[in-house]
Structure formats: structure tokens, C-alpha cells
Symmetry: C2
Subunit: 326 residues, 2 copies
């Protein structure tokens, strides 16, 4: 992904070259003397995708020309990836999803029990690894993020099947469950490089807006994408009663007839019919436009920073969040 | 529980008097601006029982006459209780249990999804709260314990239905999933009081042996107890294919006929029949004797410590782990 975006950018190259070290720290942290544990972990390593969150840590660490990709950055990058993997494993249990990254999910292969426990093992290891940096305020910051993330999931769960969900609540949910982590990746990456607090705040705003854009794009892919292209189960939001932005916009703005057809599709969990209505009313396009607004907002947040290769890399990462089909 | 054991012990009284502060820190840590989150947390607070783990932290903190019940001890006590609650919530999902502390479990009332997510919220908050002490080595120690705990659960899961389970593996599982946390409660409580490392090690050994005894007693109650008395679903180990010590001992030592009847009871998940066989062969009694051996071992581990009220309190806590019916 990164190679395609910025082949000649030397920070981008350093970041790309560092990702295997991140993967190595990730794997060595999870490694156990128990074969049963290692086998499950190997399965999760197959989930690894674009490594967006580690890239945000490493890119964030390079802001203002600071030395990025230090050992602490690599450790933090592995930590955030581990938290992300834990949410994937537990989300798949919650969503009863069967496919991820083109392969069977852990819950579908080994049952919910192994998936619940392995998710716990990932969370536990993430905090253990984070503590190895030796800065308890980093653990506290990580804890704040994961608290917020869980609150977002719990809020979403409590609103399942709620067709009167409004835009503000939708944005509150995704800010908590997705954007809090991407925001922290950028801010903490920068903090490890010792940049001043206003820069950390700019990075936090950048990462949060990027996270919101990323989640809207994810929601669009779940509603309108094909499992083959997306590489994971689609239509899970509908099946699990989660109303996402395109549907929220449709239900508030489409014609009475189209809303009635969409409501019937929601009741019948008919993803094709719902997708067709949301596309035809323009709500899908309006949701995509909102993702673009967020990408613009992300870029504006770091416009104050010196124009250097870190900023360029962050901008290309922001653009890539919505220009993707998987 | 404590009041009945040692009414005139002044450290015991201080510990008892401190437990409401632990509960307060616990509740205030979990409190959220989201009503949906608070409602679920209130449900979990109903699970609170004997608060054995917080008591171990506070008692461990008083070893050698050190000032126990400081703010750090109270925080750590709330942290370990939160980890324990998380394991209860996720265990109930794994065990499909319906009753806990005489009431309905969260999973049975709100579904597995809410229970998975709330367990995550508890783990996340435990680490966040632990970081507030400002000592990253404490977070690292906690992470080591929870890694070990999850490994124990994963090992147990991988061996479900395995009727050839041997004693050594059984002890390895419960040392990880139960004794690692009780050992850490004692050792870290003592460490926060600044005692020397040999004392911390003695406390670790004490807490580990106590945890093993506790788990054997739990297993006996699950096999032979009544839901009304125990206050939680019984027979879950059998229903979930978990072989526990009394059954392991029975299958290795009972007569061929009795083993055959026990195997039939295991296949048919007939808890009454299995309990009767295990009781009649003496395996239940031998498991109870093993719990007593562990209590003795726990006491021996702290025999080297000065004879003071902390040691007396720890000894009475050890005795109480096996003299209980719930």
C-alpha cells in the first residue's frame, strides 16, 4: 500500500522497512511455551493487513524531523496493532462473522470461546508490552483509549436495531470505537519523539478525523461491497442491527416510499435491496462526501506543522483511507 | 467472612474497614458519561462476593508491620478485583452459565455480546487504574499475571473433553488461571509496602498455594454442590468437558467398573451420577486432601516471616479457602 503511494519518500521507505520489525515484536511478545496458545496466535497473525495503525505511530514519530522508528516507536506500533487485532477477534464474535482477510475467522473455526479468550490474551499482552517502555503515563494513555473504545462498542450494542439513530450519535460511536485509537497512534507516536504538546494535539486531531473517515469507508464497504473484493464478511452491520451513516442519512432524507422500502429491507436483512435504495437516494454518495470532509479536516489539522516528509506521508495515508476497496 | 474469622484482629479490622474504599475506587473507575455503560457495570457490581483478592493485597501489604491500606494498596486491590470480575464475566460466556451469586448472569440476561464487551471494558479499566499508581513495573507485573491467566484458560479450552488429562496438567492449568492472580495479590501488596524481595517471594508462594487450594475447592463445589447453596450454576465443568481434580483422580484410581460408570456419566453429562461415583471411590476425599496439602504449603511459605497480625490474618484467609460451601 505504502510503496504504491510514495515510492520515493525516504521516511515512507523507512516506515515500510520498519514494519517487519513491528511484526517481529508482535510475534515474539505473543509467543508462549504452550503449543495450543501459539497455534491460535498464528491464526490471528493471518489477520494482519495494511498495518495502518503502526504506520500512523511511525509516521507520527517523524513529525518535525524527529528521529522516528526508534525501539519505543516499534514497541508502541506493535502495541496498537495488538489492540486492533483484539478488537477484530472480539468484533467477529459479536458480529458472528465468518470471513476475514479472505480466510475463515477464528470464531467460526474454533468457536466463540477460543476467540473470546484469545482476544483477552491479545489485550493483556498489549498492556504488558506497553509497560516495557517504562513510562507509566504511556500505559495510562493506552488505558484511556481502550476504555473509550470499549465504551463505543457498548454504546453501539445498546443501540442495535434502533432505526431512529441520528447522525450525532453515529459520530459519537465511531469516534469512540475507531477514531480514539487512530488519534492515539498519531499523538503518542509524536509524544515518544518528544515534540511539544501543541504538535501532539494537532496529531491527535489528524488521527481522529482520519479514523472517522476510515470507519465511514468501512461502513460503505460493508453495505455496498462484495465479500470477494472486501476480503471479509459483508452485510454484518445490517445483520446485527447496526445502523451506519449511509443508512442513517437515507432514513432521514429519502422519499417516503424509498424509506418504507429501506425499512422493509432492514427488517428482512436484505442487504442488496438496502444497498440499492441507499445508492439510488444519493445517501451513499453523501456518506462518501462526509468521509472526504473528514480527510480534509485531517489535513487541515496538520497544516500548521512544518512542511516535511512526515507531513507528506501522513497526508498520503489520509487520502488512502477513502481510496480503498478492502 | 473476615469478621467471623478474626473479630479481635486489628489488622483484620482495618482490612475490613478498607474494603468499602476499594469498592468505591472500583465503581468510580468504571463510571462513564454513558448510561448504557453504567447500567451494565451496576450489574457486575452485584457479582462482588468475598473480595478475597483485595483482602490478599491489603493483608499482604501489612506483612512485617508495614503500613498497609495506603492509597496505592487500595488502588491495587480494586485493580485485581476488576481483573477477577472480568474473568468471571468472560468465564460465564465460555461456560454458558446462567446463575452467579444467586442472580442471573450478564450473558444470560443481555447476551454474549454485551458480556464479551463488558469484560473487555473491565480489563481495560484495570490496566488504566493500575497505571495511575505511576510505577510502570507494576503494570508490567500485572500484564505478566494476566498473560499467564489467559494462557491457563486457553490451555484448558484446548483440552476440553480430554478424559486422559493427568494431574500434572490439571495443576499447570489452575496454577496459571487461578493461582497466578492470588500469588500476585500477595506479592504485589507486599511490594507496595517496600518489603525485601525474599519476603515478596514468600508471599508469592503463599498466594499461589492458596489459589490452588481455592480452585480445587471450587471444582469440588461445582461437582458436588447444590446451586442453591453455591449461589452459581453448578455442573458447568462437566457440561463444558473440563476435567477437574476429583474426576482426574477417580479415572486413574477407581475400579474398572466404577471408571466405566463415570465415563458413561461424563458422556451423558450426568452430574449426579458422576458425583456419586467420585464420592464413593474416595476420589472426592483425596481431592479435598490435596486442597488441605496446599493450605499447609501456603502456611509453610510464610512460616519464615515474623509472627505478627498480618501473618495471622493470611493464615486465617488460607484456612477459609477450603472451609466454605460457596
Amino acid at each position: 500500500m505504502l510503496r504504491a503511494i510514495a515510492p520515493s519518500n525516504s521516511l515512507a521507505e523507512r516506515v515500510t522497512a520498519t514494519l517487519p520489525r513491528v511484526a517481529q515484536v508482535f510475534e515474539s511478545q505473543l509467543s508462549s511455551e504452550l503449543a495450543a496458545v501459539n497455534e491460535l496466535c498464528r491464526h490471528v497473525e493471518r489477520y494482519r493487513g495494511k498495518m495502518l495503525r503502526p504506520m500512523l505511530v511511525l509516521a507520527g514519530g517523524g513529525v518535525g524531523g524527529a528521529p522516528s522508528c526508534t525501539t519505543s516507536h516499534v514497541v508502541l506500533a506493535a502495541v496498537v496493532e495488538m489492540i486492533h487485532m483484539a478488537t477484530l477477534v472480539h468484533d467477529d464474535v459479536l458480529d458472528e462473522a465468518e470471513v476475514r482477510r479472505g480466510g475463515r475467522t477464528l470464531n467460526s473455526l474454533r468457536g466463540n470461546e477460543a476467540a473470546v479468550m484469545l482476544g483477552d490474551y491479545l489485550i493483556s499482552n498489549a498492556f504488558h508490552l506497553c509497560a516495557s517502555v517504562g513510562d507509566s503515563s504511556l500505559n495510562q494513555a493506552l488505558g484511556e483509549v481502550t476504555n473509550r473504545l470499549c465504551q463505543g462498542e457498548l454504546l453501539q450494542l445498546s443501540l442495535r436495531g434502533e432505526t431512529s439513530l441520528d447522525e450525532a450519535t453515529y459520530f459519537d460511536i465511531i469516534d469512540r470505537k475507531t477514531a480514539s485509537l487512530t488519534g492515539a497512534c498519531c499523538a503518542l507516536g509524536a509524544r515518544l519523539s518528544g515534540v511539544e504538546s501543541s504538535t501532539q494535539q494537532a496529531m491527535e486531531s489528524f488521527g481522529r478525523a482520519l479514523g472517522v473517515a476510515f470507519q465511514i469507508q468501512d461502513d460503505l464497504l460493508d453495505l455496498l461491497g462484495e465479500e470477494r473484493t472486501v476480503g471479509k464478511s459483508v452485510g454484518r452491520d445490517l445483520a446485527k442491527g447496526k445502523l451506519t451513516l449511509p443508512v442513517v442519512l437515507h432514513l432521514r432524507q429519502a422519499s417516503t416510499e424509498s424509506v418504507a422500502r429501506a425499512m422493509a429491507a432492514i427488517r428482512g436483512a436484505d442487504i442488496k435491496a438496502l444497498g440499492a435504495e441507499v445508492r439510488a437516494s444519493g445517501a451513499a454518495g453523501r456518506a462518501a462526501a462526509q468521509a472526504e470532509v473528514q480527510v480534509r479536516r485531517a489535513k487541515e489539522a496538520i497544516a500548521v506543522l512544518p512542511h516535511d516528509e512526515a507531513r507528506d506521508l501522513l497526508i498520503s495515508l489520509a487520502d488512502a483511507t477513502i481510496n480503498r476497496s478492502s
